[in-house]
């Protein structure tokens, strides 16, 4: 994200932020309106969860009772949305919510109520007259009729949490300034790292609906909550507080954000409902209430009364550093010499190593870190990265946990089988990371093919599956070796697989941050985890298969037994019921033998499938 922010800052002078945003919105995840709705919700929810956990961890440290996360997410359509055209030229945007009309013209927006079927707007001598006759709207601009084209509707997103709340002095900057908080503050696993920043969502709202963000926040020590409507001054990249008031708040502390944006709501695997469902699955310590645009209220109850372990910030390891971050570290350093900056700000760089490196690139060891040029920083970094250094510490991560994963899956799917595997932390390019995988089989899952749920730092990844290391590892497993049928390398099972990568720095393939880059160390760890998981699943499946086959056979012999009894009675004149009873006795008596036969026949074939075939021509007779 820093890179984009930097870009934004650099380009801001040459072109307007709006234009830059327009050009780069695909990078930010706003390239389509369906994704945009999701990204805005995601930004707010990620912030809320991070904030709540921070509060809880602080309370833990202070030995106070811990507040667990309560998140409410509401998304609803508020207005119809029209593009107003004059001779096919876009002139203005109009939003209609019952009798409230909002008009955006040349970047300015006005809101008015329609009375007696009429409403008029005046923008510096450009006059708009809107009339409603027989439920048909007519819009005139300076007396000339405009054509109306219906656009994607307007959604109101509301996300409420019981986190620590925000200082009212900080609120405008957090929501209204693009570069806020970009100072490098060490590396710590959190959700925010993935995001594009809530301010981007605020900007998107402003650009599509002209509406400011409405933020209500309360800190514990304050009596009342503070409500602010915040806009971004695009030219100056400054927050503007449009409206401010004291108000009530449902929790002791917390924050509520409201954004109005243009969006498209879809259901399915890339939709909002699924995103919330997956978020709830991976955060069983949070209570999540979700009201979707259809007005359905879905409650994901807290399943575990325990916060995840607090992640520890670590100093960056040279092997994983990029030049941009490195120069910023040097710039922000409070150390007086370059040598002490290297040994203090980076992990696994001792003073002697720092001295050696500085010397090797011909720099003055006493040079101030702030005065190191970009070129000098580049040679320093290269020299550092060519050294064999100790691996970074790995006890800084906060994985989800086996119990948490299994509990979440059990609750959502009531599966027949559930299993989670957690690997030990590992390192890719100087970055600690950890892999967790889980599977749920059967129960409410009825799909023929398995579904893969990808997560990075507890955030669901819904897009760009094909280019993601998680998907790649998943589809590189040879499932047939485990006796599981697969099609296009996806297991044909009613199952849900979860893969989570936890890291202080998740390597994404690009800025929309939906796919993890394929580092060999990461792929290797995922595969090892999946292999262990699938071995477990395979054992369960073959047991299930065995008992199903056994039952199938007993049923088969019972059914044929009924027929046999009839025919034998016809042939011998012995009473049918008597024969039937004898056959049942026979089946009961030879049950173990039939069971043993099942074991043996399955041991030799080892083919497991979720459907038991009722193939009776198996076990060919010797003769034919």
């Amino acid at each position: 994200m820093e890179e984009i922010a930097e870009e934004l800052a650099k380009n801001q002078r040459a072109i307007s932020v709006t234009e830059f945003f327009e050009r780069n919105k695909h990078l930010l995840g706003f390239d389509n309106k369906q994704k945009a709705l999701l990204v805005c919700v995601k930004e707010a929810v990620d912030n809320s969860l991070d904030a709540c956990e921070e509060l809880g961890h602080m309370q833990e440290r202070q030995k106070q009772p811990v507040t667990l996360p309560e998140i409410t997410v509401e998304v609803k359509t508020t207005s119809d949305n029209y593009q107003l055209l004059d001779e096919k030229q876009n002139v203005a945007q109009m939003m209609v919510s019952k009798s409230m009309f909002t008009l955006i013209f040349e970047g300015k927006s006005q809101e008015k109520q329609m009375r007696s079927g009429r409403v008029s707007f005046d923008f510096n001598n450009v006059r708009f007259d809107i009339s409603d006759s027989n439920d048909k709207l007519v819009v005139l601009m300076n007396g000339k009729q405009l054509t109306m084209r219906k656009n994607a509707p307007i959604f109101l997103i509301r996300v409420l949490d019981n986190g620590p709340g925000l200082l009212s002095s900080k609120m405008p900057d957090i929501f209204g300034r693009m570069l806020y908080g970009s100072k490098f503050q060490g590396m710590k696993q959190n959700r925010g790292q993935q995001g594009i920043g809530i301010h981007s969502a605020v900007l998107y709202a402003q650009l599509t609906t002209g509406k400011p963000a409405k933020v209500i926040s309360k800190i514990k020590s304050a009596k009342k909550a503070k409500m602010m409507k915040i806009e971004i001054n695009i030219a100056k990249n400054e927050p503007i507080v449009v409206e401010e008031a004291d108000t009530d708040f449902p929790y002791e502390s917390g924050t509520q954000v409201e954004l109005e944006i243009e969006g498209i709501y879809v259901s399915g695997s890339k939709g909002l409902d699924e995103y919330i469902r997956r978020t709830a699955l991976i955060n069983p310590h949070a209570n999540i209430i979700y009201i979707n645009p259809n007005g359905e209220r879905i409650v994901y109850k807290r399943l575990i009364d325990k916060l995840p372990v607090e992640p520890i910030p670590i100093k960056p390891h040279p092997h994983g550093l990029e030049l941009g971050i490195f120069t910023r570290i040097l710039k922000d350093s409070s150390q007086r010499t370059i040598v002490s900056a290297l040994s203090e700000e980076l992990s696994r760089v001792s003073r002697p190593i720092a001295e050696q490196v500085v010397k090797s690139v011909g720099l003055d060891p006493k040079k101030k870190p702030q005065e190191v040029s970009r070129e000098e920083a580049n040679s320093l970094l290269k020299a550092l990265q060519s050294l064999q250094l100790m691996k970074p510490q790995t006890d800084c991560l906060s994985p989800i946990g086996v119990e948490e994963l299994e509990t979440g899956l059990k609750k959502q799917f009531s599966p027949e089988f559930v299993k989670a595997i957690q690997r030990k932390p590992e390192v890719y390019r100087g970055m600690p990371f950890q892999i967790e995988v889980a599977v749920a089989y059967g129960g409410k899952i009825t799909s023929e093919r398995a579904t893969l749920m990808r997560y990075a730092n507890k955030i669901p990844l819904l897009f760009d599956a094909a280019s993601c290391a998680l998907t790649k590892s998943f589809t590189e497993i040879d499932y047939t070796r485990y006796g599981i049928k697969a099609e296009n390398r996806i297991p044909l099972l009613p199952a849900v697989f979860v893969i989570e990568i936890t890291s202080v720095w998740v390597p994404y393939t690009n800025e929309s941050k939906n796919a993890v880059a394929s580092y060999p160390a990461i792929i290797k760890e995922i595969k090892l985890a999946l292999q262990e998981l699938i071995r477990n699943l395979s054992i369960f499946l073959s047991r299930k298969h065995r008992s199903a086959v056994f039952q199938e056979r007993i049923n088969l012999f019972e059914k044929y037994g009924i027929e046999l009894a009839y025919y034998l009675s016809e042939l011998t004149g012995i009473e049918e019921g008597k024969i039937k009873k004898k056959i049942d006795e026979l089946l009961e008596k030879r049950k173990d033998e039939i069971k043993l036969n099942v074991e043996q026949s399955l041991d030799t074939s080892e083919v497991v499938s979720n459907k038991v075939e009722s193939d009776m021509s198996r076990g060919k007779e010797e003769e034919e």
Binding site: R553, L556, F557, K559, Y560, I562, E563, L564, Y566, Y567, L568, E570, L571, T572, G573, I574, I579, K582, I583, E585, L586, L587, K589, R590, E593, I594, S614, M616, S617, R618, G619, K620, E621, E622, E623, E624
Partner: protein
């Protein structure tokens, strides 16, 4: 082998079937896995018996168990056929293979399993029952469908009716599947001609070839049925009539001849009653194709023809016959076949007026 007399008493036959049921019930009572012992059928268990010049069933047997997922279906089907047969014999009724299938076919209640899915299953079960009971299909009161026709200078008695094979118009007498009970009253014919194709029979019958040549003509469509083979055997054995077989000049025709003469692999257990080692192959030979200028009607061999040729070359009863190996060599070299119907291109009655008299006069037949 089974007592072939049709008169094997009703009581005796019922007893045989009842004993099969009793034996299975005894297994159940002893809490043993019930089984049936069946002589193995198929190429692996047939031998060519040089002395009788017929295909005989070998000694190998297999057990079919009820408590075996691979066997239970066939086991039940065999018992179903036995029960059906017992019923038929008791009531002096006969049924056809087709209706036997319909009589047995039903879905087991509460399942999607049908006792039999198609007629090949009942047909096989009936053959199995023949092996288990040592009774023939006819003795089990199950007949094949009527197939084939006969015409010629013979008078028979069938269920009290006198039938003159020379006075049956264009269709001839339809041969029933069970010919055990017919009685030959008057046989003036001097030999028997069997045609592979019913079209040839119709041609010969219209031309009254049987009258001119003093013979009996018989045909079916394709393989000769049991009824036809038994009829051929009886005409030959009881009245010393030579039997000549006329088929297409291809490997399938050769096998039709083979089945009539040596018996078939699937029915090796009843070879005694069906095989006719005295039968001779009249044509079409590869030489006939040359001689009667049928080359314009050649149809190229397909892969299946060549494949079948390989199999037949390996059968003991052909392998040791120099004359047949030579004929098969010629056929293979030609790489094509000619159907009997090709004669019609030379004039409708060419076969009866020219080919048949010449072949008979020449008296050269493949054995």
């Amino acid at each position: 082998m089974a007592d072939s007399s049709p008169a094997l008493s009703k009581k005796k036959r019922l007893e045989v079937l009842e004993n099969i049921g009793k034996e299975v019930y005894q297994h159940i009572e002893k809490m043993e896995n019930p089984y049936l012992t069946i002589t193995t059928r198929g190429l692996s268990n047939v031998k060519y018996d040089k002395e009788s010049r017929t295909i005989k069933l070998g000694e190998s047997v297999s057990k079919r168990y009820f408590l075996n997922t691979g066997h239970v279906r066939k086991f039940t089907q065999t018992m179903a056929v036995a029960a059906l047969s017992k019923n038929l014999i008791e009531n002096d009724k006969h049924t056809s293979l087709r209706s036997a299938f319909y009589q047995i076919r039903r879905t087991i209640p509460g399942t999607k399993i049908d006792i039999v899915d198609d007629q090949t299953e009942t047909n096989k079960s009936i053959e199995d029952l023949e092996l288990i009971s040592d009774l023939t299909r006819e003795q089990l009161n199950i007949n094949a469908n009527k197939n084939g026709a006969v015409a010629g200078e013979v008078i028979i008695e069938d269920r009290g009716d006198l039938i003159d094979w020379s006075k049956l118009g264009s269709g001839g007498w339809a041969i029933p599947s069970n010919v055990e009970d017919i009685i030959f009253k008057k046989v003036d014919a001097k030999f028997v001609l069997y045609f592979e194709k019913s079209t040839m029979f119709e041609r010969a019958n219209e031309d009254k070839a049987w009258k001119k040549l003093h013979c009996v003509i018989i045909s079916s469509q394709g393989q000769a049925t049991r009824g036809i083979r038994r009829l051929l055997q009886r005409l030959s054995r009881e009245h010393n009539l030579p039997v000549y077989v006329l088929t297409d000049a291809d490997i399938w025709g050769v096998y039709i001849y083979s089945a009539i003469k040596f018996g078939s692999i699937t029915l090796a257990h009843v070879s005694d009653k069906l095989a006719l080692p005295e039968a001779k192959f009249m044509g079409l030979t590869v030489e006939d194709i040359e001689k009667y200028d049928l080359k314009r009607h050649l149809i190229k061999f397909k892969d299946v023809d060549i494949e079948r040729m390989k199999q037949i070359r390996n059968y003991d009863w052909f392998k040791n016959s120099k004359e047949w190996m030579a004929e098969l060599d010629k056929m293979e070299k030609l790489g094509a076949k000619v159907e009997l119907d090709a004669f019609t291109a030379k004039g409708l009655s060419f076969i009866t007026e020219k080919y048949l008299p010449e072949k008979l006069k020449e008296g050269k037949f493949l054995d």
